[in-house]
């Protein structure tokens, strides 16, 4: 290696060591005490420093964006999990709120109806080929002093009556059943008739027979129990007139009734005991 080359290498090494030292000295010194060399170094290094800083900022910006994206992905996963958990909780709470509302309405009904009412839970449903409920089974039976013929209702209206009761459960005859017949009145006009279930597989529709031809009956009229015969207390909502058909001749007209109770969504019901029925019957007009 020639002397010149060795000298050059040594000089470069010294410069590489001295340059940052003087830069550092110029950078860290109190600006009031900088000398001419410091100022020259700072002025000379400023553009280089600016370019390097911008370069570093842009590179680190890209990198930070990447890291940020990684965080976003992780945050997304966490938020998605949170969302699922909260939706599940919300679903449960909604269910509980709906149940709470139903029970509250049942309690209100219980307060309104004088006499003893027995709350019962629906434990079984038979459905038709068209997914219409045809039979309902309750968790109360003879042990709870439930007897056949006792009215079953919800806050929405009349469900039917107990068809038969065994030791621990009872079967309900729905108003929509073809064997059901209930004496009813049109609330608006007081027109009387006999509500009979059609037992249709695809609907809960019922029919009022023996409605006098001259009675004023309109679609939307409320249908309530009459209280006659002491089977059901008076003024319990049964349904709403859906269609009125009047033949060209005859003494009666017919009306189709949409039950007030959605039998598909029955969960809790009230069974009206004999004493309550007696009281209601006494109060009924």
């Amino acid at each position: 290696m020639s002397f010149f080359r060795r000298f050059r290498d040594a000089a470069i090494c010294v410069v590489l060591l001295a340059l940052p030292f003087f830069f550092l000295r110029a950078n860290l010194r109190d600006p009031a005490h900088t000398n001419a060399l410091d100022r020259v170094l700072l002025q000379a290094s400023a553009p280089l420093q600016y370019v390097a800083t911008q370069l570093a900022l842009s590179v680190s910006g890209v990198f930070q964006e990447y890291v940020y994206l990684v965080d976003v992905k992780r945050d997304n996963e966490r938020l998605r999990a949170d969302n699922s958990r909260l939706r599940e909780a919300n679903y449960k709470l909604s269910g509980q709120a709906a149940e709470n509302r139903r029970l509250r309405r049942l309690l209100q009904l219980r307060d309104q109806m004088r006499g003893s009412l027995l709350s019962a839970q629906v434990i079984g449903k038979d459905v038709s080929n068209f997914f219409r409920v045809t039979k309902v089974r309750l968790d109360r039976g003879e042990r709870d002093r439930v007897r056949a013929g006792m009215p079953v209702l919800t806050a929405d209206g009349l469900v039917g009556e107990v068809r038969r009761a065994t030791g621990r459960d009872a079967e309900v005859l729905l108003t929509a059943d073809e064997t059901s017949a209930i004496d009813v009145v049109i609330q608006r006009t007081g027109a009387r008739g006999m509500l009979k279930g059609l037992g249709a597989e695809d609907s809960y529709i019922c029919r009022i027979e023996y409605l006098a031809r001259e009675d004023d009956v309109q679609v939307g009229d409320l249908v309530v129990t009459s209280g006659l015969g002491k089977r059901f207390p008076a003024h319990i909502l049964v349904g709403r007139i859906a269609k009125v058909s009047k033949a060209d001749f005859g003494l009666y007209q017919e009306a189709l009734v949409e039950p007030a109770v959605d039998f598909s969504r029955l969960d809790e019901v009230l069974i009206m005991t004999a004493s309550a029925r007696g009281q209601e019957a006494q109060d009924s007009p």
Partner: protein
């Protein structure tokens, strides 16, 4: 080519450390990932002093920009570390694991001490930290220990770069000859 690859490797290490720092609180166990590189270059006989010092200059400058210290602080210390390693590397030629750990631990303490001293000399605002010397010493020890622990991995990376470049060079020669 080799210089560029080494500088890029240093950049990647610094970027990885920065990324890790956003996820895990590293303080006070903050390694200096480019210090083992300076040591490696120092103890590698085929790296000329000019090239080694130039690479360390660039790495130190990157470190200054990356950690926000005054420009020249890490640059000076890293170039100095290269020359010290060059001097020591002549005596402790074997580059086994224990050598890497001990050498980087010692260099970590030396460079950390130099950084504190330089700050104290040039920046009069915080006086020389004699008051909490114990705390600073502990910080130095922790940082140097972590730097020593990552040194074997950095050395392995540097060897890999060397091997990869040598293979490329061999292939080019074979293609020419």
């Amino acid at each position: 080519m080799r210089s560029f690859a080494v500088i890029m490797f240093g950049f990647v290490l610094l970027a990885m450390q920065a990324a890790l720092g956003t996820q895990v609180p590293l303080h006070p166990y903050v390694p200096n990932p480019v210090l083992p590189m300076a040591v490696y270059l120092g103890v590698s006989p085929d790296v000329s002093p000019v090239r080694g010092a130039s690479i360390c200059f660039a790495l130190g400058y990157l470190l200054d920009l990356g950690c926000g210290s005054s420009v020249g602080l890490q640059t000076f210390v890293l170039v100095a570390a290269f020359f010290v390693a060059r001097g020591a590397g002549v005596r402790f030629a074997p580059q086994g694991l224990s050598f890497q750990l001990v050498m980087n631990f010692v260099m970590g303490i030396a460079t950390g001490g130099t950084l504190i001293a330089l700050r104290a000399i040039f920046n009069h605002a915080p006086p020389f930290p004699t008051a909490d010397a114990e705390r600073h010493s502990l910080l130095l020890l922790k940082s140097a220990s972590v730097t020593a622990l990552i040194a074997p991995f950095v050395f392995a990376g540097m060897r890999r770069i060397d091997g990869w470049l040598s293979q490329q060079r061999g292939d080019e020669r074979a293609a020419q000859g």
